[in-house]
């Protein structure tokens, strides 16, 4: 599974959308089209992140691809079969979802919850066979949720809970897993953890994983492919880096007062310029000093000796000192906070 073919129509495509038009039927009105002409393919072992600004229709696209909502036009194929013609049971054996909404399941143990993922395989009693039990254990182990098995779901933290929900989706042993903002309620370490787990899952089990997220930085670092849905329905596909380089990212997220910085791969606020400032120094302290100066509205120039305003960093093993020079005035500071206070008082 380590090597993923990338040519079109190579047989590794598990979920294909053909000229898909997404949106909503409205009674007594023309249908509300969010985006049209979307043709994409999700391949085995591939981790795809769907990005886009709020309200661009990410959830609608996710729901349409998962077969939870009918497309206005076009069709989706799951393992070569038209989504609308597959029985719910067969579909659930090949495709599973994790949704944004947080559900209150009441008093169930984590392993009971994961076992619900065996729904499409069990008979009408819902009794688990040895194979089912094995699949449940496997799914929990691979997500690192095995120690949670006997814990009650309502007692779990948000991160643990999300792992259990993903384990439940995995217990369906699907070819495709679709996750709608799986990291929405989590703090940064938990988000990195979940993304890393999904990435590993795609590599190890050959699952195709599609997830929507607002976490741009993390998506750019983890995704094999990014699908970008911009406001107005424009749809771009590509390696994350390509989309940054060709400007699709900037265009999709354009907004007053905020700009996408292709150098860091993140957004930053426009600040009214406070002028240029020289910055002397290197290493980690210089990096964070630069950030602080930029936040203050300065544009920091390396080697700007001739500038009237400058900060020089003097690094020692156990202490860093900042020398602020403004014309003839000189001050030595022991922290960045002091540097900023000094600059503000000189302004």
């Amino acid at each position: 599974m380590a090597l993923v073919e990338r040519s079109a129509g190579d047989g590794n495509e598990v979920l294909v959308a053909e000229a898909l038009s997404i949106g909503y039927m409205q009674p007594r009105h023309a249908p509300l089209v969010i985006s049209e002409g979307i043709s994409v393919a999700l391949r085995k072992g591939e981790l795809v992140c769907l990005l886009g600004p709020n309200g661009a229709g990410k959830s609608t696209l996710i729901r349409t691809l998962a077969g939870m909502q009918r497309p206005l036009a076009g069709r989706t194929l799951l393992l070569g079969e038209c989504m609308q013609h597959i029985s719910p049971r067969n579909r659930a054996r090949h495709l599973s979802v994790v949704l944004t909404e947080r559900v209150d399941v009441g008093a169930l143990s984590a392993s009971d919850l994961v076992a619900l993922g065996r729904y499409p395989y069990t008979a009408w009693t819902g009794r688990l066979s040895a194979t089912d039990e094995k699949a449940v254990r496997w799914a929990m182990t691979i997500l690192g949720a095995a120690p949670l098995a006997q814990r009650r779901v309502e007692e779990l933290s948000d991160g643990e809970r999300q792992k259990v929900m993903i384990a439940r989706a995995l217990a369906q042993e699907p070819a495709v897993m679709i996750l709608d903002e799986p990291t929405a309620f989590l703090d940064l370490p938990r988000r990195v953890d979940i993304m890393g787990t999904l990435r590993r899952l795609a590599r190890e089990t050959g699952q195709a994983i599609l997830l929507s997220t607002h976490d741009l930085d993390l998506a750019l670092r983890s995704a094999d492919t990014v699908w970008l849905l911009a406001q107005g329905g424009a749809f771009h596909i590509g390696a994350p880096e390509d989309l940054v380089l060709n400007g699709a990212f900037q265009a999709a997220f354009e907004m007053d007062g905020i700009e996408f910085d292709p150098c860091s791969g993140s957004f930053r606020l426009h600040h009214p310029s406070a002028g240029e400032i020289g910055l002397h120094g290197d290493g980690v302290p210089a990096l964070w000093t630069r950030r602080a100066l930029e936040r203050e509205g300065f544009s920091a120039k390396q080697n700007g000796e001739q500038l009237p305003l400058a900060v020089a960093i003097e690094g020692h093993t156990n202490q860093t000192l900042w020398h602020v020079r403004s014309g003839a005035y000189q001050q030595t500071c022991e922290s960045i906070a002091e540097v900023i206070a000094c600059l503000r008082s000189r302004a």
């Binding site: 719910p88 909404e101 009441g106 008093a107």
Partner: protein, 354 residues
Amino acid sequence: MHTLERLLRRSARTLALIALGLGLCVAFFLDLALGSVTIPLADVAAIITGGEPAKATWSDIVLFFRLPKALTATLAGAALAVGGLQMQTLFRNPLADPFILGISSGASLGVALVVLSTGATTGFLAAMDFLKSLSLIGAAILGGGLVMTLVIAVARRVRNNMTLLILGLMFGYASGALVSVLLYFSVPEQIQAYIAWTFGSFGGVTWSQMQLLAPTVLLGLMLAYLLIKPLNALLLGEAYAQSMGMAVVQARFWIIASTALLAGAVTACCGPISFLGVAVPHLCRALFSTSDHRILVPATMLMGATIALLADLVAGLPGSSLVLPLNAITALIGTPVVVGIILRRPRFRQSFAG
């Protein structure tokens, strides 16, 4: 280690179920033995097994009055509790009961139409007699069935459970409004007869009516057993249930159909009995600390029947010839349970928002 833990928990649950079953048997025999006349348990046993009791009249009391009453209470309690459980799961609403889709209000309308439109000359006693007649049951079935058919017809087309819930409530309000109009134009005797019906009673079911009640309730309970798997899937909500391969419209139809059979048959034979359907599922969830319907369905069945028998026992005020309204007793048992749940579970309040 986990396996051992699970095994222990499983056997604890089995034991609790067996204990509930024993409790049901005790309550059943107490209900036969106690009443305006106290009959020793040995004689009750003799009568049931076809033997001769110490007094011949006891035989009639048990066979023609208390046995059908106890059986009715058992069936009705099990039916309402399982119906309530199904509705609470389907609508993800802890306050849902088997009547939430308007069955009891439809039945009330049917009964009100019959009671309140009959001649004003019939006195209260005559009306009481009349209450026990089949035409009343017929009216309740017709009224409840009509509302239920409407709701089921709508359920097949509506995509959202919340819409369905609100529609059911609105049907209920509409028939309630019609009932109050009818009440306004009625004489006190008729109103009293109607109100006597709304108090609910297990005592009005004859052996011939039992032939209708028992099979309907058993059918409804059997359906509930077949629906355990989709009910469990619905714990995650409809969207997830569907994504796991549940046919949503079909499952919803059968869950509502099962509840309609259970609640409809009980309302027709015993009147609108409140609170059992809300309180018993919560009691069982608390007792077994699980939401798993593989345990909850049999547990609510046993616990519902037991509590209905106990309520009937208390309403009969053993040793006196007085009978309290059954609904007053079920409400007195039910309200503390619901209040306790609201106070104990902070999450309970959140679940209204979602």
